[in-house]
Amino acid sequence: MINKQVASVAAALEGIRDGATILSAGFGAVGAPDDLLDGLLAMGVRELVVVSNNAGSGTRGLAALIDAGLVRKVICSFPRTDDPRAFDAAYKAGRIELELVPQGIISERMRAGAAGLGGFYSPVGVGTKLVDGKEEREIDGKRYVFEKPLRGDVALLRAHRADRWGNLAYRKSARNFNPVMAMAAELTVVQTKQLVELGDIDPECVHTPGIFVDRVVVV
């Protein structure tokens, strides 16, 4: 029998090491795996590289990890949120590295990584300082820059519903980065409030097929 459910957040995160690249889903607080991020804080793993659209808000989740000094680098499109105190303090103190990537390029770089591709040429940022140092190429008269694929050691997700095979369904705008991050990591871990029976998620409405998921924890 296939059963990807694990008993606790600690079991869901077992094996994550210092220096890991963590894909952390969510757009602001919506769809963000706060219980798993709190679990990383409890584990005390250090020198993390976190890929996330934003760099944490308030005092929970990613903000708490940053505040505790466990994050070496953030790769994101828009670090500041309505309450960016943790990231702002670390940034001003020079305690954290920021790699700023346009939002659609973060998601597409992960999709390329998920799809086994070696990267892609993109028109985004051409002629701006955000693409300094990237290979530029003209294709059919239009300028593009080369973007490398982006993969994580671990993806941390939040799903609305999950089953024991790891099939996932999200809710409304909480879907955001979850599906692409699910596909782009060596280890994909999901928190959910609802574990349902196989078949309860209509096959037509499975947003992330279980092939991409390794562990599911009910929180």
Partner: protein
């Protein structure tokens, strides 16, 4: 001379949105453009975080914490709307599937270069969000900005001083004083607020302007 208020600027930009268009509104002032769509036009609003058919702010009993807009404020979905993931949301943006992107701007140049992502203030980490994708991907990019900075310096420049978001992407500029098109012949002024002469407008603008033969007074509702 009475400059347009911010809601009036949003109203003016809304008048040019055509029936059936899919439109992305940037965070800040562009967000309220959707409040001013003329009756009878069906517009589909896109949000970068995975919505098509975004509606107005929720009423007291409609708020859903899983349903937010690009500015991370609560929103709604209209009948016919849909949800999708981030890579698809940006495929729509970059692939030319949106008819219009309206963004705010710090500066615009005479050739339509846009600067709206960083002022290089060392006290604030920069954020680019979806602006660079929108600037190169939407079929049309229009910007809303105050004509000058608070100390009166022009924001419409020969060359942007702030780092660029994208080159040659803006086609129409709405300010609190004028409506200006970016064309191969340069910046063409289509509308000017009552009581301001073309010469006075030029004094507030670094880049050279031309006045359209059929220019009109910029008159905006609502009155507030």
């Amino acid at each position: 001379m009475t400059p347009l208020s911010r809601p009036q600027m949003a109203w003016r930009a809304a008048q040019d949105i055509e029936n059936g268009w899919c439109v992305n509104l940037g965070i800040g002032l562009p967000t309220i453009v959707s409040d001013h769509i003329p009756p009878g036009r069906e517009i589909v609003f896109h949000s970068e975080n995975g919505l098509l058919g975004m509606g107005p702010k929720p009423g007291p009993n409609e708020a859903d914490p899983d349903l937010i807009n690009a500015g991370k404020g609560l929103t709604t979905l209209i009948t016919g709307g849909s949800f999708f993931h981030h890579a698809d949301a940006f495929l729509m943006i970059r692939g030319g599937h949106l008819d219009l992107s309206i963004m705010g701007a710090f500066e615009v140049s005479e050739r339509g270069d846009l600067a709206n992502w960083t002022t290089e203030d060392p006290n604030f980490p920069p954020g680019v969000g979806g602006a660079m994708d929108l600037a190169v991907g939407a079929k049309r990019v229009r910007v809303l900005l105050e004509h000058t900075t608070k100390d009166g310096s022009p924001r419409i420049k020969v060359k942007c001083a702030y780092p660029l978001t994208a080159e040659r992407c803006v086609s129409r500029i709405y300010t609190n004083l004028a409506v200006i098109d970016v064309t191969p012949e340069g910046l063409i002024v289509r509308e000017i607020v009552d009581g301001l002469s073309f010469e006075e407008l030029q004094q507030k603008t670094e880049a050279p302007l031309k006045l359209a033969n059929d220019w009109r007074p910029l008159v905006a509702k609502p009155a507030h």
